[in-house]
Symmetry: C3
């Protein structure tokens, strides 16, 4: 399976062009567009969403991960193999939490882009063809990197910030539910938020936090918009 994880947006021809290249290089392999509206240019937000969203995908799955404000510049591309899944994309920190948490990982530096590649669309011209070949072949050989080279040492293990606001106004954070307990009360813009297991456990209009279906702490309001009620946007901080 090939999986797209990008900030390209669903608008325009970008996702379709990448999907076409994937299909050409790996005929018959299903392509899933997992996330296409990652916060634009926000590598850190994407980095903490990636391992949460990648859970549950089968070993051998190849993720094309592109949040790439530096496209066309000198930042290198990498391939990461973590716990049996493959990830390919520009290396500006995107794979930091993923590689740190992996039980088993390996990583490779990509050669520079071919001259024919558009300098503004490495997702289509560099990463997609390689991803298609990875999905087909199930292996890669090239210049190996220490996975520590992927790491942004200044980034925390969990990010106490909002990393995504969804269609319903729910605010997903970069903090895993598994590293805190259900007794925690968060301070979100002055509002004390208590834990609930799911939406139907609280009254309509009530704000709460829960561990979402990807394992991340999420702030929500039952049948309301947490972003509006709590004044949240991508990047908003919170504390306990």
């Amino acid at each position: 399976m090939l999986v797209l994880f990008t900030d390209f947006g669903l608008q325009g021809p970008y996702i379709g062009q990448v999907e076409a290249v994937l299909q050409q290089h790996a005929p018959g392999v299903p392509v899933i567009n997992l996330f296409s509206d990652l916060p634009p240019f926000d590598i850190q937000a994407a980095a903490y969403l990636l391992p949460a969203c990648a859970q549950g995908f089968m070993p051998g799955t190849v993720f094309v991960c592109v949040v790439d404000p530096g496209v066309g510049g000198k930042r290198p591309g990498v391939i990461v193999r973590a716990d049996g899944r493959w990830y390919i994309g520009p290396n500006e920190g995107l794979f930091t939490p993923l590689a740190r948490r992996a039980k088993d990982s390996q990583c490779w530096l990509l050669p520079g882009p071919p001259a024919s590649a558009s300098p503004s669309f490495h997702g289509r011209d560099v990463f997609a063809p390689l991803a298609g070949r990875l999905a087909r072949d199930g292996r890669y050989s090239g210049e190996e990197l220490a996975t520590t080279e992927l790491d942004r040492p200044d980034w925390p293990d969990d990010l106490w910030r909002v990393v995504y606001i969804d269609r319903f106004g729910n605010a997903i954070t970069g903090l895993r539910g598994s590293v805190i307990g259900p007794d925690v009360v968060f301070n979100v813009d002055g509002h004390p938020l208590q834990h609930a297991r799911t939406f139907s456990e609280v009254d309509a209009g009530e704000a709460f936090w829960y561990e979402n279906s990807s394992g991340l702490v999420e702030f929500a309001v039952n049948r309301g918009r947490a972003d509006a009620v709590l004044g949240l946007r991508v990047g908003s901080e919170f504390s306990r």
Copy 2:
């Protein structure tokens, strides 16, 4: 064929995660994302869109139908077989018009969700795996329900309300064109709207009603936005 009919939105990882589960459980079966921006939480609007949108799909098609404000609560999941097509989702009324109109139907109560299911994402963890298996096996055995158990007896056969506003501002209603005639003049927020067969039959800027490509009465303005011109939103009522 597997078909998604949800209010998840195209944003975020939700549709992609469900598609991945469907692919894993029914490799090689095409997955169509038919509707992903149903009015949020609006079970009734979705209920009257479902039979209209399901027309034309082949017997054996499996629809994953999720508009589920009560996710994680006690509402049961069901499987409905209606006129040769399968539908799976939470039972809070969503299948009322579908089952009433079916010439031939059967229905089953799903067992409670497995402990491993996320309490906030039964679409991915409960309904999608079952849908994949249905698409593969073409049959289901379990606790049967009378289809009358699906019914919300207080809901009309046709809904004289707007159930969806599309990209162009056209307002789709829950009323089938086949139950009224082309001579009907609708009163829509004080505007008398007459029938036209299609957009090109009226002048630019003119409001009219027509039977849309799914068989439902739709209010439109040629090369304009009916929602703005007529003051319509999801839920707006109208009369004749």
Copy 3:
């Protein structure tokens, strides 16, 4: 491969319904949704995007191209074969630049729609079934047209207008980079814009033009929104 190129929007059931018809008529052929938010009703904008977006697709690919304000009226449908790829859709000018630029082209007039076709959704009921058959059979026989019949002689070879604004506020134009040189300075709403190869070559906040990944001149602002900074929308003119 089957490719959708439309102004239907991702919202609602339209893209999904067309994809389902394509799958039914050409089982196993991959379907790519290349562009679904073309500027609504704007045939000319779509016409200059089409050859740029179609580059790179394999010979034999079938494009379903629908921007069709005249749907249900008397405008004819056509099939175009240009440089080995197939295009099907309503003929109101959409194929003008494509056919003019093709080294090798042929075109056919479609018969009128079948009585069963919805007058408002020829994309689903007329063009998709034919496209599916084309993808399967790789040939078409019917009433041939001179490709000059597709032409809107009043339309220029390149369009000095904005034809699309993307998610990031970048403004794509109908002008090919290959017909001008990198020394050109464009006058965009009074701003002189110079060439850069890609985003990372200019400072954050700086406006520039570049040849985008589809070969078109595009106005952009590094880590900013060109549409806002330069006051651009679809249809905006510019000069050198």
